[in-house]
Subunit: 176 residues, 2 copies
């Protein structure tokens, strides 16, 4: 089972080392970790994707909560949530394959951010499966380099009924 945990931590030196050390010493299987700023300069948010059963999740959560610099831990995957990952991918793109790569990029709602006579860099955000499908499509062209951020997630708003005159959420589209 895949779980997404979101931890609000104090923005102080050493907090990442503390958290990473705890996870490593206990041998938890962390699939992805993203650390980024929040709306407050004093706080950072760490998003973990953990593979394991409920018992493992519970342990990780309790261990995180024990760390003084960890303010709050939420199990996002227990709720309805939006998940995103960002990738930069550099592929071989000689003149003959450039238009095909551009078309695939457009279908996946990606963006060409750099181009040279032989290569292209594409930016793509979305759910993990969408990003992996795009990577598979790029393989035949030749992947030169690939960087991903690790996943971030946010719980959807609780009240979901549609409001008159509003267009529907485009998440399902954007996520393919």
């Amino acid at each position: 089972m895949r779980h997404v945990l979101s931890a609000l931590v104090q923005n102080v030196p050493g907090v990442l080392a503390h958290v990473a050390g705890m996870l490593a010493s206990r041998g938890y299987n962390i699939d992805s970790l993203a650390v980024g700023e929040t709306e407050s300069p004093d706080l950072s948010r760490m998003t973990f994707v953990i593979v394991g059963d409920e018992a493992v999740l519970d342990q990780v959560r309790k261990q995180l909560e024990k760390i003084v610099t960890v303010v709050r831990v939420d199990d996002i995957s227990a709720q309805d949530y939006v998940e995103r990952d960002l990738m930069l991918i550099k592929v071989e793109a000689p003149e003959g394959s450039r238009s095909e790569i551009r078309e695939l990029t457009s279908i996946f709602r990606g963006r060409v951010v750099d181009v040279s006579p032989t290569e292209m860099v594409i930016e793509l955000s979305g759910q993990e499966k969408k990003i992996e499908a795009f990577i598979d499509l790029m393989r035949p062209f030749g992947i030169l380099e690939l960087v991903r951020t690790g996943r971030i997630a946010m719980v959807r708003s609780i009240t979901r009924p549609m409001v008159k005159g509003m267009s529907p959420p485009i998440d399902h589209l954007a996520a393919q």
Copy 2:
């Protein structure tokens, strides 16, 4: 000075703890860290943004290279590069302010990924300054939650002359 380091590391448990521990014990000021998968399942890539002079950068680089599980370290900011960060932001969006938020989102090439009668979740990727400008624009509406991935970066292709019939790189546009 702001430096972007990209480290290719073995995808083994404990490597993040090792790297984070080294950085913390030496008190380096890490502005951002992203850890994500690469084109190879055996390797992960860590992107650091470090604030400091050349001497600090050199120390961090040498310390990273000493770690056995670190395969390679590149100073991306020494070259011409593309940098991206991803954000999910939840803002207060009652009916009266929804269209204005949608318009700002569209100008910044963001995407509305969730909506409720009172709130909206927007996804936005781009350079740090673009993301920060958007956050500032959202403040008056009321920011409820904000998650960021931390920055990733990729060196541009070396051969930059334009090829006949190609559209120019849209990076400058996308980055506002």
